[in-house]
């Protein structure tokens, strides 16, 4: 791998940029690997990278049924924050934010992590009390979060309409200054390039069709559209398709897959300084470095794999955006799309071992997996390499739905997140 640096950039500038090579190989599958990861999104590629870098497992492969980053990694709204209520979640997402802060240097790839601040609006007295509780809980966990009055929120995000005459007036906001956004494709490509350089095989257009198991029940490998591959350890990082992949090994999951939509506007000059979320009226908005407004909508109410959702879901979000930001009422929306998100009953992810020896799963990120990418990948790699969870993901077991030790962020936030 050729390192990106000011000197490599300068020498290529003098060479009309003719000397850049492919950033990762396109190898043929080997008959066997020490471990394979199913799913070539940010979480899966990241797990492969940390397996190779921190655990010395370099004879591994990432199997992707389409192209890397073509699923939810390429469909999300790129919001990053760690202001979760419960200790377990706070530790997990803060682990991710700390890794985000050094990720571009670590990967030698600019993931365009921008800590522009995440502002969460309160519109009711209950919101105010709940958000202040979040602020205090976060501070006890060493996570920055602060309460802003309505006027302070307006000062931080000038386009915000704080008029008392709108349907749900803004009563204040919680601000995590270390939150922000990153470039989703760059995260995927950065992990792919760095993992490839450490010897990881990235196998695209390689769909897993079966998981094979030995007489002792342990996994022995997979059948794929590019032939059988043997492996004693398999990590499933398949987002919305986790239920199907796990069914190949006979494991039934507490998951349901729903469409989640997002949309972008035409690109305009910089006009929106931060990430803004309003759970109460359901608005998620930021501006990409290209200038598009990036807007997140909600999930549909039914199980679906169609990668498209109902128009009334996006309309609902745009109604809220237009009321909070009247200046955007004449913006044209450029594209909208859907991704399939796997949602757990308590809205917390599952990262850990499964009842099948050698089979590990990282799933259930629901509507908020992008923010956790480096942290999730890091602890998942640890779990696969050591056959035991990292202390951070130890509470996020599949078994918690049997024991009842849920991490009920669904109740804590009262919305999908």
């Amino acid at each position: 791998m050729r390192r990106f640096s000011i000197s490599s950039l300068l020498s290529e500038a003098l060479n009309a940029h003719q000397g850049w090579s492919r950033q990762w190989r396109n190898p043929e599958p080997k008959p066997a690997y020490d471990a394979i990861i199913i799913g070539g999104g940010g979480h899966g590629l990241g797990a492969a990278y940390y397996l190779a870098k921190e655990h010395g497992l370099t004879n591994i492969a990432v199997l992707e049924k389409g192209w890397i980053g073509g699923g939810n990694s390429g469909r999300n709204t790129t919001i990053i924050r760690s202001n979760y209520l419960y200790d377990e979640s706070a530790a997990l997402y803060e682990h991710a934010v700390k890794l985000w802060e050094g990720l571009s240097q670590d990967l030698n790839y600019n993931v365009m992590f921008s800590q522009r601040g995440v502002l969460m609006l309160a519109h009711t007295q209950h919101d105010v009390q709940s958000f202040k509780r979040h602020v205090y809980a976060n501070r006890l966990n060493g996570i920055d979060n602060e309460w802003l009055t309505r006027e302070e929120a307006k000062a931080f995000c000038p386009p915000l309409n704080i008029s008392p005459d709108i349907r749900y007036p803004v009563m204040g906001a919680a601000l995590q200054r270390r939150g922000g956004t990153a470039r989703h494709d760059a995260v995927v490509w950065g992990y792919a390039r760095a993992a490839d350089a450490l010897g990881v095989d990235i196998l695209q257009n390689c769909e897993v069709t079966a998981i094979t198991r030995g007489p002792d029940g342990a996994v022995t490998g997979v059948e794929t559209t590019r032939g059988p591959i043997r492996a004693k350890k398999i990590g499933v990082s398949a987002a919305g398709h986790t239920s199907m992949v796990m069914a190949m090994a006979g494991v039934r999951m507490p998951l349901e897959s729903f469409p989640l939509q997002a949309l972008v506007s035409e690109p305009v000059k910089p006009c929106f300084p931060c990430v803004l979320m309003s759970n109460a009226v359901h608005a998620y908005i930021s501006q990409s470095d290209k200038g598009e407004l990036v807007i997140g909508a909600g999930t549909d109410q039914y199980v679906s794999y169609s990668q498209q959702g109902g128009l009334h879901i996006t309309t609902h979000t745009l109604d809220a955006i237009c009321e909070l930001f009247p200046q955007f009422t004449r913006m044209k929306m450029l594209r909208n799309w859907g991704g399939i998100v796997d949602v757990t009953p308590d809205r917390s992810p599952i990262i850990g071992k499964t009842p099948v020896p050698g089979l590990y799963v990282n799933c259930g990120w629901g509507t908020g997996g992008f923010k956790a990418t480096p942290g999730s990948a890091h602890v998942f790699a640890h779990t696969i390499a050591r056959d035991a969870p990292h202390p951070i993901n130890a509470p996020f077991t599949l078994d918690r739905f049997r024991t009842g030790r849920l991490i009920d962020e669904a109740a804590a936030a009262a919305v999908a997140h």
Binding site: Y302, S304, L311
Partner: protein, 95 residues
């Protein structure tokens, strides 16, 4: 937006309905007799199939009645709707 076939009112827009999730999950007759794994199976484990799904719908802003429907989760096309308590119809001809 889906056009949901209510067996009582006919096809109506999705915004009139609430989806109640997977159908045909019977509450165990004797919960005390179950171990934790069986109880978790009842509460939390879902099929979430890529294909034909039997699910419950409530016509909340219409007749107010619950019913079941078969829908293909890839095309989102409804295949059948039927009354609560009826067995799941054969979906061999489903799209």
């Amino acid at each position: 937006m889906l056009l949901v076939p209510c067996p009582y009112c006919g096809p109506r827009p999705e915004v009139e309905f609430r989806c109640g999730g997977e159908a045909h999950i019977a509450r165990p007759a004797d919960p005390d007799a179950l171990d934790d794994a069986a109880w978790a199976e009842y509460l939390f484990i879902r099929k979430s199939p890529k294909g034909v799904h039997a699910e419950r719908w409530l016509h909340a802003h219409g007749c107010g009645r619950w019913f079941n429907a078969l829908r293909n989760t890839v095309s989102d096309a409804f295949i059948a709707s039927y009354e609560m308590g009826q067995p799941r119809p054969d979906s061999a001809g489903g799209r």
